[in-house]
């Protein structure tokens, strides 16, 4: 990820906060507005960050993953129903991750073992997730009259969360914190460990990896599963951290935004995180618009992330280079 892009992202985030501060009509001190927008940004960026990192593991190993949306949606459902049945948020969380991995297993099975076109495989998973969760929701969940297990509690960081003004930023729920940790760990794993070197090699030149005795198939399976598990965690955010219920299409395209964040971030964890924060900031502005009386039509603010995605993916701010073997099924001779 280039420096220029990082600066662009940070400038845009600051710009969005400035818009909120300058245009507010309610009598609130500017620092309160800024801190509130920042805290919401971090919250809304959580599923996008996790989705983008999920895509990153897959694509760095050479498997295109447009199924992040489907994996998250299925996981949102799995997490909520498991939590509701067992009345345990921890089991719900685990179920979310496992549901994501199950979808990942399907993706890997189709695209690595059977070398199905990865876009087709991803589309299958997205459609399957919509159909399956919709069916189970209306036919099973709504008839079972389950009670929600509630939401994951805030985990305020000691001292920092007590700060005046900035305090709210450090009062987040567990998955939001984990998403930041996942970014840092993923950066280390991809660029400083044996696993990362092999993963990237398999995604860039699988034959080269094969000739030095690395199993392309195993590396791809494992990375798709890791990615899908992270997507599952991202899915659990929707039903265990954001709202205490499952609704049809609850992920609302966030998986595709995550895909855009991954690409905009140049297939790097920190880049993807920065891009996710940018999308989160646009979302946060929309939510804060009402609270602080910011006179921008909420439809316009709502449109902003998507507009931004188009501008970004059109390559206006430079084009990122994907892994060379991304999307290419590997065939041994």
């Amino acid at each position: 990820m280039t420096r220029g892009r990082f600066l662009f992202i940070i400038a845009t985030i600051i710009g969005l906060i400035a818009v909120a501060v300058l245009l507010r009509t309610k009598d609130v001190p500017p620092e309160i507005v800024a801190a509130s927008v920042l805290a919401t940004t971090l919250r809304f960026a959580t599923p996008i960050t996790l989705g983008a990192i999920a895509g990153l593991y897959c694509e760095r190993s050479g498997v295109v993953n447009i199924a992040i949306e489907g994996m998250m949606l299925a996981a949102a459902f799995g997490a909520w129903s498991a939590a509701a049945v067992t009345q345990s948020l921890a089991i719900g969380l685990l179920a979310g991750i496992l549901t994501g991995m199950l979808m990942g297993l399907l993706h890997a099975w189709l695209s690595v073992t059977f070398r199905v076109d990865q876009i087709v495989s991803g589309t299958v998973i997205n459609i399957l997730a919509i159909g399956l969760t919709g069916f189970l929701d209306s036919q099973v969940l709504s008839k079972a009259h389950l009670n929600s297990a509630g939401l994951l509690p805030q985990l305020p960081i000691p001292v920092l969360s007590e700060l005046p003004v900035l305090g709210p930023i450090f009062r987040q729920q567990p998955i939001a914190w984990v998403s930041v940790i996942v970014v840092v760990i993923s950066h280390y794993v991809l660029f400083y460990t044996r696993w990362g070197l092999r993963t990237r090699a398999v995604g860039e030149n699988p034959r080269a990896a094969d000739t030095v005795g690395i199993s392309v198939r195993k590396m791809r399976y494992a990375n798709v599963l890791i990615g899908a598990g992270i997507a599952g965690l991202g899915g659990a955010y929707f039903t265990l951290e954001a709202v205490p219920s499952f609704e049809i299409l609850i992920t609302n395209g966030r998986g595709f935004i995550a895909l855009a964040a991954m690409i905009f971030g140049g297939w790097t964890p920190f880049g993807a995180w920065a891009a996710a924060l940018l999308f989160g900031a646009a979302n946060a502005l929309q939510i804060n618009a009402q609270q602080f009386g910011i006179p921008i039509p909420s439809q316009f603010v709502g449109m902003f992330p998507y507009l931004l995605t188009i501008i970004i993916l059109a390559g206006v701010i430079g084009r990122a280079v994907p892994p060379a073997a991304d999307g290419v099924p590997y065939e041994t001779e």
Partner: protein, 509 residues
């Protein structure tokens, strides 16, 4: 003194559906020697090496490494046995550093992290021990082909390989880089490494090998030492009949200028200027060869001439008319035949039949086009005629062209391009990857076109081909023609130096 046999293959047989790739092949490799494996494409050299390297498994026969019978079922197994292989197409990751490429699959760790410091130190050590001169911290994409090859060699040595298989290692090198490689091979064998050197180039096999084994149609047809062999005797062993190594041709009889290039500037796909003001004339009845290491702008130059790439500035004239930035069809209709560098990608539609491929340049004209339909009978008759004339080996004209061997594919391209009267033939790497028999045929055809009055522009990375076919040789370096010399007035060494960027004065003085 009995020398140690490090690798032995006994009666290896390997069949693929319909083909016997190796039949009863036996070889012995001694410590510290260079064994050359000579053979045409399809003779079974690569299959044999893939068996030794564990990519294939033999149907029958035995392999012994240092006297121990082994069953090598995967590359990691062969690496563990000390066998290293430098593939013809390098197995490197361009966006990785040299060090990352070398340690891949054989990483040392410090905790969970890669131990790059130790790796760097070992690479420096190996690099100086064998004079390989590789810098662990450069990105592979920034290296020349010759340097990448040295990285591949270090990669094998890093894994403690003492049996090194080099598959067509000089195919991509300049003559000077080739000499550099030979020096490295000598340094390796002096310290005990055994080398299998696969090639179809007779000259270099005679130069570097201690022993030469010749394969033909999957069988060992002979073994010899360089002292007892000549290029001619090796070629005959390889092909199984006497061959013409030199192209028989009369002196050229040049006529008027057909292709006239003035100050041509062309950019590559990344918009970098790679042809920097090329001016060149090619006359009717002469062959002008463009010599140069791959990637010095030749490919882009040819694409610009044939309408496949934009000319930034300068002019292209064919037979007196301006064709700068014309599209391919008017250029073709002006009498230009184009044998593209990549026949699979640009020369043929692999999924189409031979018959359809043979009319790709004329399908819209009668007799092949009849109003809005195709005249299948005319297309078939045309195919049958050309298949016969150009000796394309195929069971039927309706076989997808992708099923043919490399030599036959190229014959289809050439048959199509020369099936109508032409004024200009642009041939880029016309014999790349072909066997001696096909090369002989293609060379003969090119000379015939010249003698019939066509102007021929030949681009080739094979210096021998340029020297034996061309009437004049233009050397291209960094997008410029650095010298134009009549063939016969420049030696191989001079041309090699020019190709590497030396000035004409320093070469001839």
């Amino acid at each position: 003194m009995e020398r140690e046999v490090v690798l032995e293959a006994r009666n290896i047989t390997k069949t693929f559906p319909g083909v016997v790739a190796n039949q009863d092949v036996s070889l012995k490799l001694y410590r510290g020697e260079v064994l050359a494996l000579l053979g045409e494409n399809g003779a079974g050299k690569t299959t044999l090496m893939n068996i030794l390297y564990g990519l294939y498994h033999q149907d029958s026969g035995e392999m012994l490494v240092r006297g121990q019978p082994v069953r090598i079922s995967s590359p990691s197994e062969s690496i563990r046995r000390g066998i290293g292989m430098v593939h013809q197409h390098f197995m490197l990751v361009p966006v990785f550093t040299v060090a990352e490429n070398i340690i891949l699959g054989a990483e040392t760790l410090k905790g969970f992290s890669l131990d790059m410091a130790t790796a760097r130190a070992r690479i420096h050590e190996l690099s100086s021990q064998y004079h390989l001169d590789v810098d662990p911290d450069t990105y592979v994409k920034d290296l020349s082909v010759g340097q990448q090859q040295r990285v591949e060699i270090v990669k094998a040595l890093y894994r403690k390989a003492d049996i090194l298989i080099l598959d067509e290692p000089t195919a991509v090198l300049t003559p000077q880089e080739g000499q550099g490689l030979f020096a490295i091979i000598r340094a390796l064998t002096a310290q005990g490494t055994a080398v299998i050197f696969i090639s179809h180039k007779l000259k270099e096999v005679l130069e570097i090998a201690d022993r030469i084994m010749v394969l033909r149609r999957g069988k060992v047809v002979g073994e010899t030492v360089p002292q007892g062999a000549t290029e001619r005797s090796l070629a005959e062993m390889m092909v199984g009949r006497s061959v013409l190594l030199d192209v028989a041709k009369q002196p050229a009889n040049p006529g008027g200028v057909v292709l006239d290039l003035r100050d041509l500037v062309v950019n590559d796909d990344r918009d970098q200027q790679v042809v920097n003001g090329v001016s060149l004339e090619v006359r009717a009845g002469e062959i002008v060869g463009i010599a140069g290491v791959q990637g010095n702008g030749q490919s882009e130059l040819v694409e610009a001439l044939t309408g496949l790439r934009r000319v930034q500035s300068g002019t292209v004239a064919i037979a007196g008319a301006d064709y700068t930035n014309a599209s391919p069809r008017p250029i073709t209709e002006a009498g230009t035949a184009h044998v593209p560098e990549d026949r699979q990608e640009d020369g043929l539609v692999l999924a189409y039949s031979i018959a359809d491929n043979l009319v790709l340049n004329t399908y819209y004209l009668p007799p092949f086009a009849q109003g809005i339909t195709m005249n299948e009978a005319a297309i078939r008759d045309n195919a049958l005629k050309l298949i016969k004339e150009y000796d394309v080996r195929t069971p039927s004209p309706f076989v997808p062209v992708g099923n043919l061997s490399g030599g036959n594919k190229q014959k289809v391209v050439i048959a199509r391009e020369l099936s109508r009267p032409i004024k200009l033939l642009i041939a880029a790497q016309p014999t790349r990857g072909l066997d001696v028999g096909s090369i002989e045929f293609i060379h003969k055809t090119i000379v015939e076109q010249r003698d019939a009055g066509a102007a021929v522009l030949l681009v080739s990375a094979e210096l021998d081909e340029i020297m034996s076919l061309s009437d004049r040789i233009a050397v291209m370096y960094h997008g410029q023609i650095v010298a134009i010399v009549p063939t016969g007035q420049a030696t191989r060494e001079d041309l090699g130096l020019l190709m590497a960027g030396a000035q004409l004065e320093t070469v001839t003085s």
